[in-house]
Symmetry: C2
Subunit: 190 residues, 2 copies
């Protein structure tokens, strides 16, 4: 399974076997069950998670108990509460599993150690973060300027596999619409 | 004015005078007048801009001609269309000056050159991008889970100086509310 990580690293920077083994030795593998938490609001955030398989959601629960989806995570995506992880603070969101999930965990200390020791790993994470930035910026633009139907179509076009894995009420929460609106969009988009 | 850049770099990584002069030689200084464009929708995006003084907005104009503010930029902030800059594509937004503005321009080629030559500059940009990531994620969370009053109060708390520099109708656009709603929020928050 670690070949998934190597494949992603090598899309940005070539690595020898020795280099990859050294990098991999800084990760730990973990399995989580459906509904199990990786990150809990108010708790310290020790790891960034590279997803080997499964499906994950990060979300905020408001004062009325309504959940707001921040991000989904699937195979070969990274997920954590980055605000808490980068600043080594406690989480302001929850992250749990939509289905049984396997991940590679990278602690903040090990990430900084690798980046400091290996220029090419610093390069990899700069490039990955650039890409995440672009995705976040697109989501903001979509939230402030698209209507629900446009947001739905954008998501379907970018991540069709999400619609197979993720329950409808969570897609609705991600899009900021009611489940009924989503059903209507779903019907009119076919 | 370039001491502003040095100060920001040195918050993350120490630099010798020679190193800083070398880095600075990769930037060009430019002045823009109020209303002048730094980036235009459909045009190539050559530079990332470090703001020496002034005030800038990036925005999307929808089919009805309504503008949606993506970001503001003030002294010692960076601004560009990052999707276009990182991928060397044409812009999908406009960026122009709210007041006369001076910037240091860093081309994509020079940024990549510096990052490749100097590990500490790669480190600087990774850390800066992490910070931008957190800000973008907070904005998404605010857009999907806060009401207008909460968004207004968050912005006022984080960036009080914006309220001095930026016209009310642009603040309203950033928050995704009408100007009338903003006036009401403004009155009730005092």
């Amino acid at each position: 399974m670690s070949t998934l990580l190597r494949h992603q690293l090598e899309k940005i920077t070539p690595l020898s076997n020795e280099e990859f083994e050294y990098i991999l030795s800084h990760f730990t593998e973990r399995k989580f069950r459906k509904h199990q938490f990786l990150v809990q609001n108010g708790q310290p955030v020790k790891f960034d998670y590279f997803i080997l398989n499964g499906c994950i959601k990060s979300y905020h629960t408001d004062n009325e108990g309504k959940i707001h989806i921040i991000q989904f995570g699937m195979q070969d995506w990274w997920i954590t509460d980055y605000q808490a992880y980068y600043n080594q603070m406690t989480a302001t969101m929850d992250i749990d599993c939509i289905e049984d999930t396997e991940v590679l965990c990278l602690s903040y200390e090990n990430r900084e150690k690798l980046c400091s020791e290996m220029h090419k790993i610093e390069h990899f994470f700069r490039k990955k973060t650039n890409t995440r930035n672009v995705a976040l910026q697109q989501r903001i633009l979509s939230l402030i300027s698209n209507n629900a139907k446009e947001r739905y179509n954008n998501l379907l076009e970018q991540y069709p596999q999400l619609f197979q894995k993720v329950p409808k009420h969570l897609i609705a929460s991600y899009l900021g619409v009611t489940r009924e609106t989503l059903s209507r969009l779903n019907a009119t988009s076919k």
